[in-house]
């Protein structure tokens, strides 16, 4: 499963999903080969979790919906 570097701080804005980036920025454009529904591992540095990618057409933004049952702490 692909690993994507993610910052869980964006959950402070929307607790349901992690904002990965918007189109036209490096954070968004790095995901151009993915599709909504793809499964990935979000690498949060000290925490990782499996997630499902979601592309929002209206916002032109990539999100990831974490499956919190799979969260694991990473030794930092």
């Amino acid at each position: 499963m692909p690993r994507i570097i993610a910052d869980f701080n964006t959950l402070q804005v929307d607790p349901e999903k992690v904002l990965l980036g918007t189109v036209g920025t490096p954070n968004g454009d790095r995901l151009c080969t993915f599709h909504s529904g793809d499964r990935v591992i979000l690498d949060g540095g000290d925490l990782e979790v499996e997630a499902t990618l979601l592309f929002d057409d209206s916002l032109q933004a990539w999100f990831a919906i974490p499956d919190w049952k799979t969260q694991r702490e990473i030794a930092a």
Binding site: D7, F8, N9, L11, Q12, G21, T25, D46, L47, W68
Partner: protein
């Protein structure tokens, strides 16, 4: 007065750069930056609780130290109160010139400087998710 800036997890270079995104709650404004908890006078632990972070660790720094580190590189910071949990602010990095133009991507030198001054400790209030 203490002015702590608190983030979930490890404020390392990859996470700071990945977390530097547009705040989508303001469709008519270009607000780019990192999500943080910030409220002058509150302690690091109080801010960590307000942020409801899932991470087992938190990172924190004094605002003045952050400003000093970035000013030396030619940047300016703005902590703007934006929609979000607790005392959510967006930490914006701007060019420190007459334009004060906001940056839509966090430059590597700024990210390195920030990563080097954040302190780290165990999150006293980790929020478990359903």
């Amino acid at each position: 007065m203490d002015e702590w800036v608190v983030r979930a997890g490890i404020a390392d270079l990859p996470r700071l750069m990945a977390g530097y995104v547009r705040h989508l709650g303001y469709p008519n404004q270009q607000i780019f930056g990192c999500s943080v908890q910030y409220q002058p006078g509150l302690s690091v632990d109080e801010l960590a609780k307000a942020g409801q972070f899932p991470n087992g660790q938190i990172s924190f720094v004094q605002r003045l130290d952050l400003e000093a580190a970035l000013t030396s590189l030619g940047y300016h910071i703005e902590l703007r109160s934006t929609k979000g949990m607790g005392f959510h602010h967006t930490l914006m990095v701007l060019y420190n010139d007459a334009t004060k133009a906001p940056l839509t991507t966090l430059p590597i030198d700024a990210a390195q400087a920030m990563a080097g001054i954040f302190q780290r400790k165990k999150n006293p209030f980790p929020m478990s998710r359903p």
